[in-house]
């Protein structure tokens, strides 16, 4: 493991779903880097491939039907795509942690909180059982679990959704991973609890200098948490920019549409929300050219036949759109 | 369009496809029995106890009285299938009715219905059927009803479970909010959604009913005017040491039919279960 390598570097990742209806390119050439201490938000609507990207990085794809067919996922400089499953067991939870959307179903319902955290610690560290239990308690304190000592003996169903998510976070960061992947971690939570969990994730990340990929469909959450944003549509990255640039001057018509479609209290109120006509095309029926062309207000003849490649119109920005290139 | 998809999914299960074809064959055999064998199958037509193949006129041989076994099998198919279908229909009607009401209304209605179902489940089925037949007489109708009465409980439980999960769905609430009556909600809204697994179960009840009737006939309590396969087995049992084929041939017919019905049930389950689609 070289010290200077980025915590996470994804190069041209391709994940395909092999189904009876044919092959669907769920992730089609995704490249992405995340620096230490940086949060990159992966944004898009359902079916855009953001969750499958996360599962590809974790090598947790449901196979069949999904399989990585190309590209590299470099974790601290080492490509983990060709690694055997046994090697991944030592990486997941240790070098890379993951937080899922549904907190209750990601915990084992018949084991206590303490047992689940201790198990993670004992799998990946040299700690003995006694030390691991002490550490489990510390971790629960760290994630702000109210009344942590008592909650160690609790079973998941005795905890609220927010508390379960705190336990999941404690398990994800137990071995101080260099990369944390959060897949819609607050979508199932109430808004006040969501604010607590977001604040907690931010603090933990800043303290440990973790690289974080934050997957969400909620632009509000993106604006609150991300440093950089990657917008995905139909399996491809269509735009990448810093969070300020993206919201101030979105380049891709899809990003423009998403931002216009999200009501923003406190900002100047538009009479009508800018909606995007139509809907996300199914992956097995993608148009020949740009996947967004049928819904795009700036569509040109070229868009219908050619897929636009990513270009860099300004430093630190990427966009895949023929119309945006010209302006 | 939808119907073709359904057939396609069903045919993809090879066992179910073969099963369905064989069942169809048996059904055709039953329907055209009098075309193939216009004479009464119970008439004595040849020498007794001819082994299969011994006389080309009787490819499956003759029984102890010299009746053509092939003719009896073909004619018996009609009785056997009808008994199975009607008994299953009786069980389905009782089961769906009880299950729908129990699942939809819940509360004490559900309690009463489920206790009743448990009562029927604890009675030994065969003895119950035999008792009814002995008391009310060995007619085909009585046998069918008796088998129906002992077979409805699994259907009722299945229907109840489906109703329990469907009754709180939003489309049912939408109907309620429009002021639709309970009866209409049960029959025209929930029932069509609850039926697929029930149909699967009903097809298995047909197989069970055929076995039941065979057992009853084997014990000599079947309808004396109907030559079902079960009765053929029963008639041959005295000669099982010397001419075992008299028992074995109708026995194999029962076995194949029941097996095919089970395969069809499996295929229906695959085809009707939306969770398995797209796999």
């Amino acid at each position: 493991m070289s010290g200077s390598a980025l915590p996470l570097e994804i190069v041209d990742l391709r994940t395909t779903l092999f189904t009876r209806r044919g092959e669907m390119k769920a992730v089609d050439g995704l490249s992405l880097t995340v620096a230490a201490g940086e949060t990159v938000a992966l944004v898009g609507e359902s079916g855009c491939g953001k969750s499958l990207s996360a599962l590809s990085i974790m090598r947790l794809l449901p196979d069949p039907p999904a399989r990585i067919v190309g590209g590299q996922v470099k974790l601290n400089g080492r490509d983990i795509v060709p690694l055997p499953e046994e090697a991944m067991l030592g990486i997941r939870g240790k070098e890379i942690g993951m937080i899922f959307q549904d907190p209750l179903s990601s915990l084992n319902p018949v084991a206590t909180v303490e047992k689940q955290i201790v198990e993670v610690l004992m799998t990946h560290t040299e700690l003995g059982r006694g030390q691991a239990r002490v550490r489990a308690h510390e971790l629960l304190e760290l994630v702000g679990m109210p009344d942590a000592a008592r909650r160690l003996d609790a079973y998941p169903h005795q905890l609220s959704g927010g508390m379960c998510q705190r336990v999941i976070i404690a398990m994800a960061i137990a071995c101080s991973p260099s990369v944390l992947i959060a897949d819609e971690p607050t979508t199932a939570l109430d808004v006040t609890v969501q604010a607590q969990v977001l604040a907690l994730l931010k603090k933990l990340q800043a303290d440990a200098g973790m690289a974080m990929i934050f997957i969400t469909h909620d632009l509000g959450v993106v604006a609150e948490t991300a440093d950089r944003v990657v917008v995905m549509y139909a399996g491809r990255k269509v735009e990448e920019a810093s969070v300020d640039d993206l919201f101030e001057n979105p380049l891709h018509p899809y990003t423009v549409g998403l931002i216009g479609a999200t009501p923003t209290p406190g900002a100047e109120r538009a009479e009508r929300l800018a909606d995007i006509p139509g809907m996300v095309p199914p992956l097995n029926a993608l148009p020949q050219g740009c996947a967004f062309a049928p819904r795009c207000p700036r569509v040109m003849d070229r868009c219908l036949t050619q897929k636009p490649a990513l270009t860099a119109p300004a430093p630190g920005r990427l966009v895949a759109c023929f119309a945006a290139e010209r302006t | 369009m939808q119907r073709f998809e359904f057939l396609g999914r069903f045919a993809r299960n090879r066992g179910a496809f073969v099963g369905a074809c064989l069942i169809l064959l048996v059904a055709l055999m039953a329907a055209f029995a009098s075309v193939f064998f216009p004479t009464d199958p119970l008439r004595i037509v040849g020498l007794p106890e001819l082994w299969p193949g011994e006389d080309p006129e009787f490819p499956l041989g003759t029984d102890s009285l010299g009746r053509d076994i092939l003719s009896m099998i073909v004619h018996g198919a009609r009785a056997t299938l009808l008994i199975g279908l009607f008994a299953s229909a009786v069980a389905t009607i009782i089961g769906v009715g009880v299950g729908a009401i129990a699942g939809f209304f819940g509360g004490w209605v559900d309690e009463v219905a489920m206790r009743a179902a448990e009562l029927f489940q604890t009675i030994p089925n065969l003895i119950f059927v035999l008792t009814i037949v002995v008391i009310l007489g060995s007619t085909l109708t009585n046998i069918v009803i008796a088998i129906g009465i002992v077979s409805w409980t699994p259907i009722a439980r299945m229907t109840r479970a489906e109703f329990l999960s469907l009754r709180d769905r939003e489309f049912v609430q939408a109907c309620r909010s429009m002021g639709m009556s309970d009866f209409r909600i049960i029959v025209s809204e929930i029932l069509p959604n609850a039926l697929p697994p029930v149909i699967v179960l009903s097809s298995l009840v047909v197989a069970g009913a055929i076995l039941f009737e065979s057992a009853v006939s084997f014990l000599g309590l079947g309808d004396p005017n109907v030559a079902s396969w079960g009765r053929l087995v029963g008639d041959g049992r005295q000669l099982i040491r010397s001419s075992w084929y008299i028992c074995a041939i109708p026995g194999i017919a029962i076995m194949i039919t029941v097996l095919c019905l089970n395969l069809v049930g499996d295929g229906l389950n695959d085809a009707l279960n939306p969770k398995l689609r797209d796999r």
């Binding site: 808004v191 006040t192 609890v193 607590q196 609150e224 549409g257 999200t262 209290p265 009508r272 | 002021g179």
Partner: protein, 313 residues
């Protein structure tokens, strides 16, 4: 006269753990042509209140008046009449349509129940589908052939069938993707300006409510905490819970998000089986005093047309 008046409405459920007072004395008025946003976190009773108005759950106390008429004692015929005025749109676009009914049959249902003739019904269904932006061949297709947004349009068409005066929208856009959500919100607004229908818009999403509502009511553990004009509430929230809720809602604008002060509310909703005595918010409230632990605050006018239920505003 208000289109809808709730007077001290109570709904309770008997569960294995005890009695849950899901709606605990809610009084509220909704004027003709108004969109009232009802917001709160899960378990606050907002959906139950919506269902109580539709008589989908039994009401334990209080009065629900539609155009001044109490709906509790109505007989079947009068109730059918009331239901013409009030319709509902549900949250789950996958669950709110019968999967084995064609779209045409689902949309026609309220008309059939109201005794419309077949040809008039068919014509009306065509019109309704056109209004919500669906192709007319939609009526012989089945719900699974449509996307989430289109199904929600079907649900809206069904709710519009009898030209109701009030539509109760129970989280109508929560299950939809962002771009489709905006389409449905715009559709609801268009229909409002076209037909003058009023909405009771139940949602946990504050930014959506801020966009669509004229007035806002905030619920917490079965109680109304604050009711008032949307601008008043957003500019100057009075109740400490409303303040916390608005502070917690993410804003899709990084500059505004960074600029605002963020006091993150501690703790989570108490169990509705066992709410704290006095004000139900006292376990999390930064302003809680001894009085809040014994005395339940009543909803009272606090100026500017806003009502709040707190001892200290």
């Amino acid at each position: 006269m208000s289109l809808l008046s709730l007077r001290d409405v109570r709904v309770q459920f008997n569960t294995a753990g005890g009695v849950v007072r899901a709606v605990n004395g809610v009084s509220l008025d909704l004027a003709v042509g108004e969109t009232l946003g009802l917001v709160g976190e899960s378990g606050c009773g907002k959906s139950t209140l919506g269902k109580a108005i539709m008589k989908l759950v039994p009401v334990a106390g209080g009065e629900i008046l539609v155009e001044g008429v109490d709906i509790a004692p109505l007989n079947r015929e009068q109730l059918t009449n009331m239901r013409r005025k009030v319709q509902m749109i549900f949250q789950d676009p996958y669950g709110s349509l019968n999967p084995r009914s064609t779209v045409g049959r689902s949309v026609a249902q309220p008309l059939v129940l109201a005794g419309w003739k077949a040809d008039a019904t068919a014509e009306r269904v065509e019109t309704l589908l056109r209004w919500v932006g669906l192709p007319s061949d939609a009526k012989q297709r089945y719900p699974h052939e449509f996307s989430g947004g289109q199904r929600q349009r079907i649900g809206i068409a069904r709710a519009l069938a009898l030209s109701p005066k009030l539509i109760i929208c129970d989280e109508p856009v929560s299950a939809l993707d962002v771009s489709v959500r905006a389409q449905v919100i715009n559709l609801l607004e268009d229909l409002k300006s076209q037909f003058g229908v009023s909405y009771l818009f139940i949602s946990h999403d504050l930014s959506v409510v801020e966009h669509i509502a004229d007035r806002v009511a905030v619920m917490y553990l079965g109680m109304l905490f604050e009711v008032g004009g949307r601008d008043q509430i957003w500019r100057e929230p009075r109740h400490p819970y409303t303040r916390a809720l608005l502070a917690a809602a993410p804003i899709a604008n990084p500059k505004l998000a960074r600029a605002r002060q963020r006091t993150v509310l501690q703790g989570e909703l108490p169990s509705p089986l066992n709410p704290p005595p006095g004000c139900p918010f006292n376990s999390r409230c930064p302003m809680a005093q001894d009085r809040c632990r014994v005395e339940k605050p009543a909803l009272r006018a606090v100026g500017n047309g806003v009502q709040a239920a707190c001892h200290f505003v």
